[in-house]
Amino acid sequence: MDKQDSYDAIVVGAGHNGLTAACYLAKAGLKTLIVEKNEQIGGAAVSTEMYKGWIYSNCSYVCSLLRQEIIRDLELPKFGLQVVPYRGRVTFSDKGEYLASYDDAHVKRREVGRISPIDVDAYDRYYQLVMRQCRFIRPFLLRRAPDPTSMKPRDVGELMFLIKRIYDIGPRDVGEMIRFWTMSIGDFLDEHFEHELVKASMAGSGIIGTGLGVYSPGTAYVLLHHYMGDVDGSMGAWGFARGAMGAVTKALGAAFESAGGVIKTGSGLSEFIIENEKVRGVALENGDEYRAPIVASNLDVKRTILKHIGREKLPPEYVRAVERFKIRGSSGKLNLALDKMPSFPLLPENGDYFTGDFSCNTSLETLERAYDDWKEGRWSAKPYFDMLIPSKIDPTLAPPGSHMMSLFIQYAPYDLNVNGVRSADNWNDETRKAFADAVFDRIEVCCPDIRQRVLHAEVRSPADIEREVGLTEGNIFQGELTFDQLLFNRPIPGYAQYSTPIDGLYIVGSSTHPGGGVMAAPGANAAREILRRNGKGDLMPALAEEEI
């Protein structure tokens, strides 16, 4: 074999986590190769041209979770990353009401007070509570999850760190924390607020990407998962990456190449080469083979294990556990090229909300009913959407005067139910169009001329997302964010520290702790584990505040 074809480490998949892991491996001096099936790197964080002159992010579209420590450490701004914070947002109800939200805390209070004076103070308390939980969780994102069954000093140390953090927050707040982490976002909001629209406007983050309803316990955590990020140090804020989300992965790719790494796109992994329970490299679909003693998979755990490794090579119990891992498609996307700015007759002109996101959900009940449809294999009759007009923030994304609009839609099933048969094959042009129509009907609540504005529309069902990006079922987090799949349970109890039963094979994508979103934490944590296990732990920069 050609010597060129062997590396110190190979990363399969150029999603942002694969890129992040690869950066750290390359910076530690490993000769590192990334292989990516698509022509383009980025996975679920890319920018592409949708329609002559309209640039968009077909999957992830907004940024907040990306760890500041990693942005700084890998000097991503130097490689072109710039995140512009939203300045407002707005939620509409079916009844012609709207509730806007603004960066400016005072304006925000006045706005809540406009529709519900009693909820103004409640908002402060609510916000404080959520932020307290965020502050608690953030230090864990860049640490490894302790294995509670292990007596190894590192695991005991991590466990003690967790216990100490809990102890530090004091008895009263421990109770509040237990409640917050286990309750439903619906119950949590019901406890705080009176006005349905106030509640509805805040509930969306509890269900995005999740196969749970607003009244399912555990959804308050999902909300937290969306709040624990920041933009320029403003916790909980969301922003927009200039040039769309591909800017994140382009910057990571450039950082990787500047550290000497090699990226090969255009042919996917066929299988991992495994000899004597040890990984030796990868075989690609185009027949190429590359060798390395370390292989890191950016694919979700189900794909990595069930599609690219012969079952006979793995312990049956582990395979069973992987089969049980829940990756459920529940979201779709609608991307629109618009000839000009659509009208929002309910809104005062030129508000800050035009650079933020829009949604239309009247009440928690509307949201819960949207979930019920999904449970039965149908898209929601009244879907929840998170809508953004990125070209309002970054005019380079669409030709002058025209606009790009992006909608994230919850809920759409992967295995669509048509006449009692549930199958991903039921997604076709006809069902996709009917799905888009349901969404357009909802957009019209706030934006009555939307259908006239559309030059080009692109609908993506969970099945489409799976096919294009390789996310199983199109699940945005590479696995549900429920308790049984978080921390030391993610992805598989006993294998929560990025390793697999195959020596040298690691999993570095969002299926691992701390989970999905464009966060880069799984990739960085995994790199730390890989380097440590190969005796190079000291070459990994300390990203967490306190190392153990």
């Binding site: 509670p148 917050f180 309750m183 399912s216 316990p217 049984d484 006993g494």
Partner: protein
């Protein structure tokens, strides 16, 4: 202060089985106890009445599966109780009912069930973990305020013991426990079972009384709670009233006085400490402590919200108690005849929950305040075992919302009756013209009769965010309820409801331990 002349050390509000358990526990320690019960009879949610002359039937709760053996032993109840174990029959549309009798799982016709082993594997695993958690039900919840002091370390003991036991189970079980304890029963069952009566059994047993469907995270825990004492269903002779009767007898033997038809109007408080109680008749009874088996909000109102800090008031007001369970008792004209079941099998615990998804769908409708098209039902025909010729059905009908759209009135109650009969008649067609009389108790009726908040099975939803140190609310979980000498002793306190006696007994021990009665 309890004055010199005061006859009682403790007044207990409510003669539900928990109030009585508290009374018996205190009485045995030499305390003078008075129990006040607003209704004309003792028992609360655990009572019997005669549906026909000489034919007693449970009014609400009807099967004992969680009666705590420690409580039975401490209060000497075993001689006072007569209960018979029941097999469970999962009714099936095609009359191929499934019988679950301990370790024997088979079709009702005796043939082997292909999924029996898989079912047992799941159930027994949950039972094993339930056994691990069981000791927590017999202690006050750990006090996170104990901190790292010596007392705090003592508080953490039960948790440390639990952690140790977990470790001793071995890595595999420990990991499995940590993975499933907060998850949902629907996925757990269907990961290893096809959807059918056996999955339906796990789903249904995880949700009786709950405002949650089997897909809701937390339902594996609620099944563990049900299995805490093994979970085998026992049918009390004479109905559940007999069980409450045994608690009452134990309380009386221990010297407690029980007055029925007397309601507590307010708790008397001076200098931030309880001094006694005022009844609805205006009588003032002084005592050093008052224990309440009313719900959390109701108890707070009895003492007066002004004695609670604002955060406590807010938390208590937010306790979720959305009742979801109705009771329907049916007097039959003649002996029942259910196709596919022998007479012995008909005398078992009959469950209408043919699949797990059926259970979820029932919840999906009920959560919006609608009566589900097909509810889940747990029915027993207690008379069959007694050998008489008069028969009656005792049926728990689940996912019948307290907050029914349009409210509860006679018409709604008639719909509940019709729904119950229709649902049972799917498996038991002969029922339709075998009905002599029906007594239907909606959750609203149950609330009116027993004062249980929302008519809720557990007085307060038994969800993870209302458990242990946050039951009924954060910082008030150790029975002592904000005012010195005021205690909760009913189902809304730790560990929760069911006819178990744990809450009553624990609260009494906590009161004694706190030194309030010195």
């Amino acid at each position: 202060m309890a004055g010199e002349g005061s006859k009682f050390d403790v007044v207990i509000i409510g003669a539900g089985h928990n109030g009585l358990a508290a009374a018996a526990t205190l009485g045995k320690k030499g305390k003078r106890v008075l129990v006040l019960e607003r209704s004309g009879a003792i028992g609360g949610l655990a009572t019997s009445y005669e549906i026909s002359d000489g034919l007693p039937i449970s009014r609400h709760a009807h099967l004992a599966y969680n009666l705590n053996p420690t409580v039975i032993a401490e209060l000497g109840l075993s001689g006072k109780l007569s209960m018979r174990p029941l097999a469970t029959i999962m009714l099936s549309d095609d009359a191929r009912h499934v019988e679950i009798d301990g370790e024997t799982i088979r079709f009702a016709d005796g043939s082997a069930h292909p999924d029996g082993e898989a079912y047992k594997e799941i159930r027994n695993r949950i039972k094993k973990f339930a056994g691990l958690l069981a000791p927590l039900a017999l202690r006050s919840p750990p006090d996170p305020g104990g901190g790292l002091s010596l007392a705090g370390a003592g508080e953490a003991m039960p948790l440390a013991a639990l952690a140790l036991k977990l470790r001793l189970m071995g890595k595999k079980d420990m990991r499995d426990f940590l993975r499933i304890v907060l998850s949902n029963i629907y996925d757990l069952a269907l990961d290893d079972l096809p959807d059918g009566p056996l999955a339906g059994n796990l789903a249904a047993d995880a949700v009786w009384g709950a405002w949650a469907g089997p897909r809701s995270p937390g339902t594996v825990f609620s099944l563990m709670y049900r299995y805490g004492c093994g979970g085998a269903p026992l049918l009390p002779q004479g109905g559940m009233g007999a069980v409450a009767g045994a608690f009452a007898a134990a309380a009386r033997q221990a010297g407690a006085e029980i007055r029925t038809g007397v309601s507590a109007r307010r708790v008397l408080i001076a200098n931030d400490a309880v001094t006694g109680i005022e009844t609805d008749k205006g009588e003032k009874i002084s005592a050093g402590a008052v224990m309440s088996s009313a719900g959390a909000v109701q108890s707070m109102m009895l003492a007066g919200a002004e004695h609670f800090d604002v955060e406590a008031v807010r938390r208590i007001r937010n306790v979720r108690s959305k009742g979801m369970t109705a009771k329907v008792n049916i007097l039959l004209k003649r002996a029942p005849d259910i196709p596919g079941l022998s007479k012995e099998q008909m005398a078992g615990r009959l469950i209408a929950a043919p699949t797990a998804i059926y259970v979820e769908r029932a919840f999906t409708q009920a959560k919006y305040g609608e009566m589900p098209a097909a509810p889940i039902i747990e029915a027993v025909i207690p008379t069959l075992a007694d050998g008489g010729d008069r028969h009656a059905v005792s049926a728990i009908v689940h996912y019948i919302p307290r907050n029914l759209k349009g409210g509860w009135d006679d018409a709604a109650r008639a719909r509940l009756t019709g729904l119950t009969i229709d649902t049972l008649a799917r498996y038991w067609p002969d029922l339709r013209d075998n009905v002599e009389r029906v007594d239907a108790f909606s959750p609203a009726d149950i609330e009116n009769e027993t004062a249980a908040p929302g008519g809720h099975w557990h007085h307060a939803e038994l969800s993870i965010d209302q458990l242990l140190t946050v039951r009924p609310v954060n910082q008030l979980s150790r029975y002592a309820f904000a005012v010195r000498g005021f205690y909760l002793c009913g189902a809304s306190a730790h560990p929760g409801g069911d006819v178990s006696g744990a809450a009553g007994r624990n609260s009494a021990l906590q009161l004694l331990n706190d030194g309030v009665l010195a």
